[in-house]
Symmetry: C2
Subunit: 193 residues, 2 copies
């Protein structure tokens, strides 16, 4: 299915990002957001143009040039405006309600979703403003894994089949090697290693 | 269900780890391995006692003191020995076969699984030695997300309900706050923030 068939907008707000310490983790958050069918990632409160540019490069090559990515946005203001426009807030936290107990309600709700993922300690404001505090299991693990599982459950696995129609290069699944093709041009596959 | 009900051993081999660059990502790989029901993580070829100790600390507090974690193991030798003992190798790579096309075969196979996740460029040896090169969608994203989705599919979501019987502290799922309890002692929950 084409990703355009989605019926609501989903953005990811990354809060508490510390540029040196979190650069790779926040990059993975952005790449997962893009690959798993969210529509954008906002890095709250901190400017980090390197990550923005890295994710835009991936979109340019692998598709989803419409994926929105920006840093340095005031998180509290953004969240308030999101709610003001009628969207809902899902905060991923190990302290929240188990995803299996809330995902059906979230999926049925037609409103746009802002998914908040924290790095360092998350201020109480975000727990309180969230419509859903959701735990991907109540164990410490990773905000990257949490985001992936949340989007996977939301889309019921369909996100791993989304086609990004503006991709320049694509992978042809292979049992042993690496096959990369110019998208849509069959027979041009090359073995890479 | 208790994690002890699993009928096969699953280890994660992290290859290509670069201590400075990958410390947080590799830590997340280990935490996901533990939380999502694998039995251990091996950091190949590079000694990194800080990560080993960090993950052991989490096991000490949150349970799974039997979770095996070690660094500095020769990856090629380890993989060969794993196969020699009759285990299978699953290598997670965006170039592999789509997880939806292979997961049933992997789940049905009763043998122990070594899951390989790479950081930097993965040598061809690992593609060739793998029984399954598996793509969690053929898009660039994150080895942390890939591992989480792989284990989630393997356990069909049951891993998010595993009970770790030796946990010292547990979370009581909460719609707004943070409730941490001494495990198994009801009524001792405290509100944290």
């Amino acid at each position: 299915m084409s990703i355009e068939a989605k019926n609501r907008r989903i953005y990811v707000l990354r809060i508490g990002h510390r540029p040196e310490r979190d650069k790779r983790v926040t990059t993975h958050v952005g790449l997962v957001a893009r690959a798993f069918g969210a529509d954008g990632m906002i890095i709250g409160d901190v400017i980090d143009e390197k990550i923005v540019s890295k994710i835009k490069d991936v979109c340019e090559k692998w598709g989803r040039q419409d994926f929105y990515v920006i840093s340095g946005v005031n998180s509290v203001k953004y969240v308030r405006e999101w709610k003001g426009k009628g969207g809902i807030i899902v905060h991923l936290t190990m302290y929240g309600l188990h995803i299996d107990d809330v995902i059906d309600n979230i999926r049925r709700d037609p409103r746009d979703i802002l998914v908040i993922v924290g790095a360092s300690k998350v201020p109480r404001f975000f727990y309180e403003v969230a419509d859903f505090n959701v735990a991907i299991g109540n164990q410490p693990h990773s905000e990257i894994a949490a985001l992936a599982i949340f989007l996977d459950r939301l889309f019921e696995g369909r996100e791993l089949h989304f086609i990004f129609s503006d991709a320049k290069i694509c992978i042809e699944p292979s049992p042993k090697g690496k096959k990369v093709t110019m998208c849509g041009r069959e027979g041009e596959g090359q073995e890479h290693q």
